[in-house]
Each structure stands twice: as C-alpha cells, then as structure tokens.
C-alpha cells in the first residue's frame, strides 16, 4: 500500500534539539498506569527501601514487564492514588560513558535468550511493540520482521535526532544487539527522506556491515506516516494477516544499547517539552516519576488556562492532575493555551493567520507557517455535511464519514465491512472535520466493539487467500 493522505499540523513551539538534563527531584511520583502498560502487580510494600533498578511493580498482562526503580529510596504506596511515591532518594551512580566500550558489538548470536531476559529485567523490552496492536511484543516469539524508526512526526513528541544526539555509535550498537536477537529476519530502518546529517551518518556507518541485515526505508515526512502499523503496511510486511512485526522507536534502540552494553536500567527518558504555551520549547532528560509541575514551573508562558497533553496534540492524552509524574511511556509534553478571548465575526475573516487543511482561507495563498493553535474547537458541532475531507486526509484509505453514518444508525456489521479495523487512530479525521465530529474517537471505539462483539470478519481470511493470485495478475497486466 502506498502512503496516501496525511497532513502536517504546523504547530508553533516546536522543540529545539538541545537536551537539558534535569536535576533529580526530591521525590518521584511514578504513575502505575501509562498508555499501554498497567503495573498492577506490586513487588514492594509501603515503606520499603529499594535500590536502583529493583522492580517496583510488573504488568501481569504484558509479559510481566517490570517498572524498575529509577534510584534508591523509600517507597510510599499510599500518598498518591495510582502512583508510587519515592522519597529519600539516593541517586544512581551518575551515568558515565565508559571510554573502553567498543563502537561495535562483537558478533555473538548464541545467547539470545539471555539477552532477552536482561532486556526485560532492565525495562528495555517495553519499547519493543507489536506493529499491529502497538502492545508490548511477546519476548518469547520470533517476529517476521523488525521496523526501527527514527522518525517521530506528531507535534510534539521527542524527535529522533534529539534522542540520539551525537551518539550515533549507541544507535549502531543498539541495532547490532537487536540483530543478535534475531535469526534471519530483516531489520527495516526507517529514515527521513530529507537529507539530514543524522540520516547521512547512519547510512555511512551501516553500509559497512554485511551481517547487519538492514534495509533503509526513506519515508515521506508527513504525519502520520511514522505510525508503526502504517509503516509495516507500507513496507509490505503484512501480507498474510497474522505476521508478528516488531517495532522499535529511536528511544528503544538507545535503551537496548544502554541495557546490553552498560547493563543500566531504563529509568530516564528524553521527552520534548513544547507547544505554543512553552517559553523555550526543547527536549528534557528526565527520570521516570519526575513530578510534572516541577518540570513545568517557570517554563510556561502563562500559569492558568493551559492544557498539558501527555504526547502530541493529535493522539496525546490530557494530563488531568498535574501532580502526576512522568510515566514510563511518556515521549513528550505538549502545552496548549486555552482560548479566553471571543473573536468577533471570526468566521468571516479572510484567515491569512490561520492554516487549514481546506482551501477556504487566504492562508492557502501563503507559504506554510507555524500557528499558535489553542485547544479551541474552532466551530460548533454539527451533523456531517459529507464534505469528504476525512476521506482525503485518511492515511489508510478508509471512509470515516461513511463509517460514522453507519455507527450513527448502530450498524456495526456495516462499519466492520468498511474496514474500521484498518484505522490507526491518527486523529486527522477529527482534526479536519468542519462539523467537529470526534470521528477518530468514534472509529477507535467502534474498533473495540467490533473486535468484542463480532470477531473477525466472516470469510475475510479465506476469501483473501483465494483471490490473491487473480489480484496480482490484474496488477501485473495493468
């Protein structure tokens, strides 16, 4: 499937590539829930003192992924609901780069099981996800292929180049470690199609390695083409329908290197702190559990009427309670202003200052520019007027407006027939909708309902297998 649709929301306040290392706070508030992980099985008791790297809790539903303690200290389980609070912190030994670490990993495919166990224990495995479900991949199975992507396009999550910094060697070593876990499967390294130094350096280094089975996949820099599921489809890795494809983001490769080369637990994250309401948008290196209000203090343009989003503006989740710390999967904080001024006859203005997916504003005549978007809905909710913008923007080629119509009349079978399951929940259909319908959310909920109530589409598997040859023939003739 060729990439189609997609749209870059040009949000003001993009993060610079500088990474500021934040001093460890006095106490950590470690959330037990993050986007895909729920660390419900506690491994410590209230008041225990733990040492750095010790598992605080595990997620029993995700192959017992541990939540390693970021540093030594006393554990409190009762102060904050849904959090582990750590006080009396004794910082881990300051991470120093051992100068004797070789630039490359010796070729050693024998101890894959041992390596997987180590990755799991040190919290690096949580970065390996199944490209189809986006859940943590099963460490006991072998994938049919692996995608490693250095591209993160959503405004705003931490950028690949900020995560690597100048440490290309860590990336290369991480890839080599990854390779040693696999047998014959190929690693697809997704790089931006524009010529950036990072991409060029990586290419220069990896071309020398015959045993590193890498294929470079240049990618159009249009959101959401960095989505794991989309990448797997674009690279042609989903042909049978039941393949397991692993996906590793940039941070995952660095975590592999840190776990297997230095035996360090993954307790730090490089996140972006960006958005129109941030004074100096940049990247931060923070400890998991770093209190968010501590991070935001003094860094925002205003103290009230802001919305802090965990992740980017298109798929992120609003952080309701600012007390919460940085969770184990956080890749960025985006801060938006809330609208406070009612503009008179705003809908009549020519709109040279507002960028739109449609061509209904004079901004169409200008070059693209960054816009200080707020959390305003910018319009009122209306019934669908069938403008078709959601169809053209959809990166997977489904018809959100038609699916919505069926969902509105509660015809779940029809929604299934229209392939709601292909939706990758990128949020663009909701973003462009002039009727301000939360299409992406409707589709996401329908996906869950279809899976629960209807199961796999009747006859889809068998029909597909029978018809594949004719389809190929048709394409060949065309």
């Amino acid at each position: 499937m060729k990439p189609r649709g997609g749209y870059n929301v040009n949000l003001a306040g993009g993060p610079s590539l500088t990474v500021e290392k934040l001093a460890p706070p006095e106490k950590l508030c470690i959330p037990l829930h993050s986007r895909h992980l729920k660390f419900t099985e506690l491994r410590v008791a209230d008041g225990d003192s733990v040492s750095s790297g010790q598992a605080l809790a595990v997620d029993p539903k995700a192959f017992s992924i541990p939540l390693p303690a970021p540093c030594g200290g006393t554990v409190g389980l009762t102060q904050l609901d849904g959090h582990i609070v750590m006080e009396d912190l004794t910082g881990p030994a300051e991470a120093t780069h051992d100068p004797e670490v070789p630039a490359h990993v010796p070729y050693d495919p024998g101890n894959a099981a041992e390596k997987r166990r180590k990755l799991m224990e040190l919290g690096a495995w949580q970065f390996v996800s199944n490209a189809r479900t986006l859940r943590v991949a099963d460490p006991q199975t072998a994938p049919s292929a692996v995608i490693v992507s250095t591209v993160h396009l959503e405004p705003f999550v931490a950028r690949g180049s900020a995560i690597f910094g100048d440490n290309i060697n860590a990336l290369i070593r991480g890839l080599e470690h990854l390779q040693s876990l696999l047998e014959y499967q190929e690693i697809h390294l997704v790089l931006p199609d524009i010529k950036v130094d990072l991409a060029r350096n990586i290419q220069k280094i990896i071309r020398g390695h015959a045993w590193l089975k890498l294929s470079e996949a240049p990618m159009q820099m249009r959101y959401p083409f960095d989505n794991p599921t989309l990448l797997a489809r674009h690279l042609g890795l989903f042909t049978e329908g039941d393949e397991t494809v692993w996906f590793l983001p940039a941070a995952g490769v660095i975590a592999f290197d840190s776990a297997l080369t230095y035996s360090r637990p993954c307790t730090k994250r490089i996140i972006s702190l960006a958005g129109p309401a941030v004074k100096e948008p940049q990247h931060l290196e923070v400890t998991i559990g770093h209190p968010i209000d501590n991070i935001l203090a003094g860094r925002l343009t205003r103290d009230e009427n802001v919305r802090v989003v965990n992740g980017g503006i298109l798929t992120g989740v609003e952080i309701a309670d600012k007390q919460m710390g940085i969770d184990a999967e956080c890749s960025g904080l985006t801060v938006l202003e809330e609208p406070t001024v009612r503009e008179m006859f705003g809908w009549l203005r020519p709109g040279g200052d507002r960028r739109s997916y449609s061509k209904c504003f004079t901004s169409t005549l200008q070059k693209t520019f960054e816009e200080r978007l707020s959390t305003s809905l910018r319009g009122e909710q209306r019934p669908c007027v069938a403008c078709g913008q959601c169809v053209t923007v959809c990166p997977v080629g489904i018809m959100p407006n038609a699916i919505y119509k069926y969902l509105f009349s509660d015809e779940l079978e029809q929604a299934q027939r229209l392939r709601t399951d292909l939706c990758v929940e990128c949020g663009l259909c909701s973003y462009v909708c002039p009727s301000k319908i939360d299409l992406s959310d409707e589709l996401a909920r329908a996906k869950v309902r279809i899976a629960e109530e209807l199961g796999p589409a009747p006859g889809q598997q068998t029909e597909q297998k029978e018809q594949t040859p004719t389809e190929n023939q048709e394409e060949g003739e065309a």
């Binding site: 009612r342 209904c360 489904i398």
Partner: protein
C-alpha cells in the same frame, strides 16, 4: 464591540434552562456564535482543531454565489432584494422552529438554501410564492429527513419543483425583461414586465419555435430566465471560486459537463453551435456548480461522483431535447439525488473490495 458582547452576556441567562425564553436557546446560541467565536474546547484528542467549520464552509458557497446574485440585481432590479429577504425569513423561521422543537442547534446549511432559492425562481414571482416555496422546500426537502446533513434531496430544488407543479403559470411566465445600458436595472424596482404568452426563455423558444438567442446574450445574461441563472459569465466566475475553495467537487462538475456535452452533441447530430447554446442556456451552469455539487444530497464516494455527474448531464440533455419540457436541470438533479444512495452502495462495495487485501 464591547457593547454587543455585554448585551449578549446580559441576555444569556434569560435563555438558559429555567429562564423565560429557555426554549429559544437555539436561536440565541446561533446569534451569539454568529457574532463571536464560541470558546468551546476540544474534549479529547486531537486537542487542537482545523479552523474550518460549517459556517465558514457554507459562507464559501455564498461568496461564490455573489457574482450571480449581483447579476440578478443588475438585470432584474431591486425586486431581488425582497425576494432574498423573504426567502431567508420564511425559510429561517422553519429552521428555527425545528431547532427549537428538536432542541438542537440551528444549522448553517440554510444560509445557502436561502440565497440559492430566489436565484432559481423567475424574478417577477409574487413574494408570497417565494415564501410558500422556501417553506415547502425546507420543511419537506430537509427537516422531515432530520435536518441539514440528512436530507435526500436538495431543499431549494424541492421548493422549486413544488412551485412549478402547483403554480405553473407564474413559474413559466413571471419574467422581467433584462435591463440594458450601463446600469441595467440597478436603479429600478420592476414587477413582472413581460407578457407570458408572447415572451419566453431562450430554451423555450429553441424548443418550440426553433429560434436561437445569440450566444453573446446567453453569456452575459441579458435574456429572460430565472433570476440567477441567466448570466453564464457570473456563474462561471462563481464556479471557478467554488473549485478554488475546494468546496465543490470537481468530479461532479467535470462529469456533468462532459456527459451533457456528449449527449447533447449526439441528440443535435453534432451541431456544435447548438451544443454551445445548450451549455449556456437555462439552468445548466447554476445547477451544475451549485446544486449538483451539494455534498449532502449527492454521493460521498469518489467514483460515485463521476457517475452521479454523468447521470445528471445525460438526464438534462434528454429532458431538454427529447421531452415536451424545455428545461431539464431541476428534474435531472432531483433524479440524481434519488440515485445517489444506490450509487454510493455500489462504489462502497468496490471500495471494500479494493481494501480486502489490506491487513
């Protein structure tokens, strides 16, 4: 500005639940949001949204209609103003009444219908007929289906169809002689000026008497006809705007024009002058640019739009040249509206087939 904002703020409590005018909240909300952007926020991801809303989307169509509206004032005089006002007032009343009863928001789709409707009527039509027509159109064409976005037919055309079938006389004879000179009828307020028996629209004359109006008159618009449809120049300007805004589907427009041209050429045995005549005469341009492209009553599938346009183009040519009716655009679009859901069914099936190998 501040004064208006204060006034609205002061009036707001009266329209909230428990206030004396609580049932008119939709009307208040519409006026309030019309004047000042609401502060409504996104409740979930995506946290920021595109600036396009339905109001803006519909006002783009109105901007594209402005050249044709101006042409109607120029050729037929100030009588257009009461016609437009009556259309907005009567149709708006129905819209508000339904919003109040349903306790839903007032939809902006009516802003287009209210302007489009007088433009497809004879300029000398009695004002009460304009009111009756628009009320019927909005009520039967839209509200009984559930309002904007759920209507099967184009409401303006439903209203016009009703008037044509009920009041055939005025609908076929309430013409105004187009003004000449530099100012046209811009300074005049003309009632019906033409004897219905002796004068007729170019299409009628072509069908009955085989007399053909010069193409230049059709192009500029100094001919008899419905108020907004006479000037091809103004309509093409509006159509180009619609295409630039991306509000109208170029697929529908292209396929209507091409299929109409081919069908007409076949029926007139290749007489290119007559093909051109039929392109410029009657409601083809207005209907294609502003009615056939109505996204709600047309198909939503990409391929379906081509078929839908082709259906309208062919039907228009057939009605014009092979039936006693001299004009066919209205019935062709209403027929197209009728077929739109089934066209969509077919193309959705094809769409699903195309997606079957996606995993």
């Amino acid at each position: 500005m501040k004064f208006l904002a204060n006034l609205l703020d002061k009036a707001r409590p009266k329209f909230e639940a428990g206030g004396p005018f609580a049932s008119f909240k939709p009307l208040f909300d519409a006026i309030d949001a019309f004047m000042f952007n609401p502060l409504t926020q996104s409740k979930m991801a995506p946290h920021a949204r595109d600036p396009l809303d339905v109001k803006r989307y519909m006002s783009m169509v109105i901007i594209a209609l402005l050249p044709a509206t101006f042409a109607s004032f120029y050729f037929f005089g100030w009588r257009m103003l009461p016609m437009i006002l009556v259309s907005y007032a009567a149709g708006g009343a129905v819209e508000v009444a339904f919003a109040v009863i349903r306790k839903e928001e007032i939809n902006e789709g009516f802003l287009v219908t209210g302007l489009l409707f007088p433009l497809i009527l004879p300029p000398g039509l009695p004002l009460w007929m304009v009111a009756v027509g628009v009320i019927f159109g909005v009520l039967v064409g839209k509200e009984i289906f559930g309002g904007t976005g759920r209507n099967l037919f184009n409401p303006a055309l439903v209203g016009r169809c009703f008037l044509l079938l009920s009041y055939g006389g005025p609908m076929g004879g309430a013409w105004i002689e187009p003004g000449g000179g530099f100012f046209g009828r811009l300074g005049q307020y003309a009632e019906t000026t033409v004897d219905a028996v002796s004068q007729a629209t170019p299409l009628y004359k072509a069908a009955v008497d085989t007399q053909y109006e010069p193409l230049s008159n059709l192009f500029f618009g100094n001919i008899l006809g419905c108020s907004g449809e006479t000037s091809a120049l103004a309509l093409i300007a509006g159509g180009v705007l619609l295409l630039l805004f991306g509000v109208a589907s170029w697929r529908v427009i292209l396929s209507t024009f091409i299929s109409f041209g081919i069908m007409t050429a076949l029926l007139v045995e290749g007489n290119m002058h007559m093909v051109l005549f039929h392109y410029l005469a009657g409601g083809l341009l207005l209907g294609t640019f502003f009615m056939a492209t109505d996204p709600v009553s047309g198909p939503i599938t990409t391929g379906g739009k081509f078929v839908y346009g082709a259906l309208i183009g062919i039907a228009t040519a057939l009605i014009r040249l092979k039936t006693p009716l001299s004009e066919g655009m209205m019935f062709a679009i209403l027929a197209g509206n009728m077929f739109a859901p089934i066209i969509d069914e077919v193309f959705i099936a094809l769409h699903v087939r195309r997606l079957r190998n996606e995993k």
